[in-house]
């Protein structure tokens, strides 16, 4: 039974100002089936007009403490602190006064694109420098949001070793602010396939007590030109949720004692047909049924992940070398015309023989990084 002391896990939708998502979601909203709403608030930082009805929708969930803020463009781990990041925090501070977010989250990684606030986020070395930067940024985020804060695991990795170490690094980033983890199961599904790792071994890499939110979504397959027999799983959010991801959800739900939200994500661009919208609602119903089934099991009071606000230095932590490495990597990823060219340019860059360990990157994942960076540049 859901009581104020023991709140149940809530079935939520990622819902932004997008006619196709909202059309697909409307029957679910009408039926009162959407327990919480996740909103990528920074996607509207540049909006000239936000319709009153969308604001009212956000306020409806906010007033019930069921609005989840999910940032996209902060670029947590870029080496240099930028005026865009400062502005991002100012806007978040203002939004947090207007809406009562249940929590605010961001993504692990740093963007490849211009000024590191466009493009696609890719990973960084799990180095002491990156840790200091990430902890500093998360503390600033928590101070602006004034609510629990969390980070989502990244689907992309260059090597199996990186996959196995991401969980520990996320925990180290989150610990000073008592932050929580969004465990994106499709991201794990990508890694299970792309690195042929076992589910138990992969899940064992994460501190599951920190999981407050789970994401599920669909994705797509991309052929590798390098390895014609190999397909790369990509987290493109443009298809229905695969059966395997629902199986991962069923297996993972009971292992996350502090879980509070399960969120379905799909891009509006893939919800333009009636058939795709019907499938989206089927996916939500299947997800909600698993959540409901899970809620019948007894559970202890989950952690509220009340934020801590560590003392912040006046100046944000930066690192010129990391910035230069990221700048060179982004340029190579966005402009190399082939995998061999990218490999050659990386070997001649400041990333060679560094904490990035480019010498151990899987060529088929570098090929994928080229694809991603050139798609979003």
């Amino acid at each position: 039974m859901d009581t104020p002391e023991t709140p149940a896990v809530l079935a939520a939708l990622a819902c932004n100002l997008d006619a196709d998502i909202l059309s697909a979601a409307l029957p679910l909203l009408e039926a009162g089936q959407v327990d919480a709403l996740e909103w990528s608030f920074d996607a509207l930082y540049w909006a000239s007009e936000v319709p009153a009805w969308f604001t009212e929708l956000l306020h409806a969930y906010s007033s019930e403490q069921r609005l989840l803020g999910h940032g996209v463009y902060f670029s947590l781990l870029s080496g240099r602190w930028t005026s865009e990041q400062q502005q991002w925090l100012c806007q978040l501070r203002e939004l947090a006064q207007r809406y009562s977010f249940a929590h605010v989250t961001e993504h692990f990684g740093a963007f490849t694109g211009q000024n590191f606030h466009a493009g696609a986020p890719l990973s960084v070395p799990y180095s002491p420098v990156a840790l200091r930067i990430g902890q500093d940024r998360l503390a600033r985020l928590a101070e602006a949001a004034r609510c629990p804060v969390g980070l989502e695991n990244l689907a992309f990795a260059y090597s199996l070793d990186e996959v196995k170490r991401q969980g520990d690094f996320l925990s180290a980033l989150l610990a000073p602010v008592n932050g929580f983890l969004i465990l994106d199961l499709h991201n794990l599904y990508c890694q299970l396939h792309n690195f042929s790792i076992d589910y138990e071994e992969l899940l064992g890499c994460y501190e599951l007590d920190r999981v407050r939110e789970i994401h599920i979504s669909g994705g797509s397959w991309e052929n590798s030109q390098l390895l014609p027999t190999r397909r790369i799983r990509r987290d493109t959010h443009d298809e229905a949720v695969p059966t395997e991801v629902f199986e991962l959800l069923a297996r993972t739900l009971p292992r996350c004692p502090n879980l509070k939200y399960v969120v379905l994500e799909q891009l509006g661009t893939s919800l333009k047909t009636e058939a795709s919208q019907v499938q989206f609602r089927r996916d939500f119903a299947q997800m909600a049924a698993l959540v409901q089934q899970h809620n019948h099991a007894p559970r202890s009071v989950p952690s509220a992940f009340l934020p801590r606000w560590p003392a912040l230095p006046a100046l944000a932590v930066q690192d010129d070398l990391l910035h230069e490495q990221q700048r060179q990597l982004s340029h190579i990823l966005e402009t190399a015309t082939s995998l061999p060219e990218a490999q050659q340019r990386l070997r001649a860059s400041v990333l060679a023989h560094s904490a990035w360990q480019i010498e151990h990157w899987e060529p088929y994942m570098l090929e994928t990084a080229l694809s991603i960076a050139q798609k979003w540049k």
């Binding site: 909202l22 996607a43 509207l44 007009e49 696609a120 661009t269 991603i372």
Partner: protein, 55 residues
């Protein structure tokens, strides 16, 4: 979570208006029109999140 009928109706109207903007008046607020996007050609819609890292 239950939403008011008035809000649900407003969302329906909002989504419908957006879907049929071809007959809308110039200057009507359109949710997908974002400041600064006019010269960005085929720039991706910003809420189409690339953020999970394999998008």
């Amino acid at each position: 979570m239950k939403l008011s009928k008035a809000l649900l109706s407003a969302i329906l109207v909002g989504v419908t208006v957006q879907a049929t903007t071809s007959c809308g008046k110039k200057g009507d607020p359109k949710p997908k029109e974002l400041a600064g996007q006019a010269n960005q050609g085929e720039k991706k819609e910003p809420y189409n999140c690339p953020a999970c890292g394999l998008g």
